[in-house]
Amino acid sequence: MWRAISTWTAEVRWIFAKEWRCELRTRYALNTLGLFAFTTLIVVSMALGGPVGLSADARPFLAVLLWVILLFAATAGLPRTFVHEEESRTATQLRLAARPSSLFCGKALYNLTLIFALEALVTPLYLVILEIPVASPGAFVLSLLAGGFGLAVGSTLIAAMIAQAGARGPLFAVVAFPILLPLLKITIAATLAAVLGEAADMHLTLGLLYDAMLTVAGLMLFPAIWNP
């Protein structure tokens, strides 16, 4: 039993390490996510005409805009996780060598670190450029972690689905819509509550539950999606 768990954990670690090693040599996802997020951030700040603080006009949009930036950047980079395996014809070797569950977790872990890095880069810039004070920093960070986790796991599952289809670009948006919409709605509410210092517990609990549901669904569905 312990040996099986240890082997599985090692497989996840090797897949995660391989993803980062390939990424650091091409920097495809890092550049795509970073540039997309930075461009959107500048466009948003210019459209709002500079710092908005907590003005009554801007309040409803503060959390929405942050998550739109994060979602768009993630959508530009994360679907590549499995598409790259199919396009470079490494999926066949991977299907024969790796257990589906360890592959899913290794890829999701890699996407998770990408999203967290993106959040760590974009969020402080967003808050500084728009001069937004955060009333509950702890709840704010928790909302980012919960949203990022769901975004990473959900994107991994969707990426596996679309990798085997023809029209991959538009398909990601179509398939992601029903899966990520509830997550974003909950997370945006949690982030806004944290910024304004209102109670965010309920939203955060819902977000964590949705994350757990996505993870279980991903682990159950992935073998059927990945293998013929």
Binding site: E11, R25, S88, T90, A97, P228
Partner: protein, 204 residues
Amino acid sequence: MTARLTLRFENLHRGFGRLRVLRGVSGGADAGEALLVTGSNGSGKSTLLRCLAGLAVPERGTIECRVDGRALDLDQRRRAIGYVAPVADFYRELTTAENLDFFGRLRGVGAEAGRRLLDELGLPHDRLAGALSSGMLQRLRWAGALLHRPPILLLDEPLQNLDRRGREDVLRLLDEHLASGLAVVANPDRLDLGHVARHLDLDG
């Protein structure tokens, strides 16, 4: 002691939409044997190998692999297979040794096995897979397939792009494999493999 190993497939059917590729194909091989599958382009050789590898599901028919009388399930069969095919490539961003190290670890094999195979096949350890010539890439496919000493080798056009030395090297490795394992070899024309015990012509 050599394990009793058999691979049998009966009445396999597989198509793509309205195109029927495999229509009632049957065959098999035992330990120490190579089954040679020949046929013109589009006759279904690669599709047959993909079905045997568990990478495609036949619409009808059965595939059975037994080791010492025990039938392997689909996951066990996938792990018992070494696959050489034009569609089975390696990470272009990683070196030959890093690629074999990664796939070897997933299959429970240490880095040493990969390095030994690279030496046997005359491949550099530190060259990126994306910078390999087509012949060197084919040698790397062989190294990847033999890495975990699988009992079953599925070889789709295994001599493609290889020079004379490369052909000699891989045929020697195939000989060593057939001392205890079995192989299914798909090629448009007949190959002189020495160990071919059975022949299946998909055009016939």
